[in-house]
Amino acid sequence: MKPQYAMIVDSSKCIDCKACLAACKQVNNLPQDHWRNWIKHSETDPQSTKAHLMHFQPGGCMHCNTPTCVEACPTRATYKDESDGTVKIDYGLCIGCGSCIPACPYGARYRNPVTRKVDKCDFCDFWRNNFGLEPACVSTCPTKARIFGDIHDPKSRAYQVLRENSDRVIRISNPQTETKPNMFYLKNTAPKDWPQPARSPDPIKAMLCCLTPGLQGIFGLSILGVLAMWGKQIFTRSEEKQEDGES
């Protein structure tokens, strides 16, 4: 079975120390004001007199199985890499048009103001492939809230943790846009209702829904016209020769 890298998050362990954000930013040399990952938190009611706890929830690109960002990219500059199951960006091909950014229900993408291309978490692709390191956010986490690995490999810890907790593991997704994310949370996590429905820019939507079949139809008519003229030319060549005298 082909590998599928994924992250399993026990958000109840997260103490909102933001070490994962800092480590990611440093390792991946991210520009000012932009982050590849985040820590969300549950809402608390300040009016309530009951004792309440705030729940912290780390996240990042979920490397979905049916990624809507990939659908929104005209050139496949962003694509699902079948060799490891991650969603990648080909920086040589990406021109930073930004179509994929609103197409991500999780807001995991941003346009890097330095490279002017779209950027997001790649599970520390470079460090993982060249040095066998875990993603920086995983290795730096003091409470080990994040577990990373190949969930198709029975020997990996991620696989085992996912199996052991199969009854209490959930995916966070928007009911309108089910992308089958490869970021798994334990059931008690919060908040859960924050993902947005995927939105592709209007021109991309139009290309997907009607412009492409429309153009195919126009090409078809054009070719049909050519075939009609060509057919007439082939079948009536002798007639035309006779007619030449008349006209």
Partner: protein, 262 residues
């Protein structure tokens, strides 16, 4: 009058084939770049083939951008060097005489598909209104090709600049450029299919096709296909020779014999 008339001068012939080569290369690399198979009119196989031919999609993008810039540069250069000639061309293709040209435009496709015999059987007159330097069919392709060509160049430059100078606020402009570039190229390509057929395959237009290499068309072809242009040349020639004849008497010069236009 000679039996051949100059229809295209050397710079026009060069521009035409330069444009054709650029269009061919830009079209195949551009279609190769549409790796999202749901928006590729040819489907999945074409980008896959182009990627393996070029050695990756990144290379396709680079080649597409370079040829695109050369294409734009070539046209700008032509404009600088042949401004008058370019204006003449634009005037010619955008001048329409509705009654004459529309009748021609309705009848010619019938003639080309049904043939004169069938048209007569249907009770249609097979006589076509006379046409000038370009017939309405050529104008109907040239007009959108010019307008959409400019749009393709502008949207192309916007996309080219996207990851070089444009900031995040301009991504809406870039995304719209992608959509417009795509549709504009698609429409011109649909016309191009007809254009290539008419030029390279249609027997009737064979002399016009050869003129895109030699520059010359037989007088007889012009008389039949471009009677209004023929009249113009004949008129000009008459005027010239009448004035020249008087000069001839003094200088002993020969009258030029070609109708050099555009």
């Amino acid at each position: 009058m000679n039996n051949k008339i100059l229809r295209h001068n050397t710079s026009d012939i060069i521009l035409h084939w330069f444009n054709a080569l650029c269009w061919f290369l830009l079209l195949i690399t551009g279609l190769g770049l549409l790796g999202n198979h749901r928006i590729n009119p040819l489907g999945k196989w074409f980008p896959a083939m182009m990627e393996s031919l070029c050695g990756g999609a990144e290379c396709l993008l680079t080649v597409h951008e370079i040829i695109g810039l050369i294409w734009i540069g070539g046209f700008l250069l032509y404009f600088l060097l042949n401004f008058q000639s370019a204006l003449g061309f634009l005037r010619e293709i955008f001048t329409i005489h509705p009654r004459r040209d529309l009748t021609w435009m309705l009848k010619k496709p019938l003639q080309l598909t049904l043939g004169n015999k069938t048209m007569r059987r249907l009770g249609l007159n097979t006589q076509l209104p006379p046409q000038g330097f370009y017939n309405m069919g050529q104008k109907a392709f040239a007009q959108p090709a010019v307008i959409l060509g400019v749009i393709i160049a502008i949207t192309g430059i916007i996309m080219f600049l996207s990851d070089k100078v444009l900031t995040a606020e301009y991504t809406t402009l870039v995304v719209w450029s992608i959509g417009i570039h795509y549709v504009a190229v698609g429409l011109v390509t649909a016309g191009l299919i007809i254009h290539i057929f008419m030029a390279a395959i249609n027997i009737e237009e064979r002399p016009a096709f050869y003129s895109m290499f030699s520059g010359y068309v037989p007088v007889e072809h012009v008389r039949q296909h471009n009677p209004l242009w023929y009249e113009e040349i004949a008129q000009e020639e008459q005027d010239q020779s009448s004035t020249l004849n008087t000069q001839d008497a003094k200088l002993g010069m020969q009258a030029p014999t070609t109708g050099d236009r555009i």
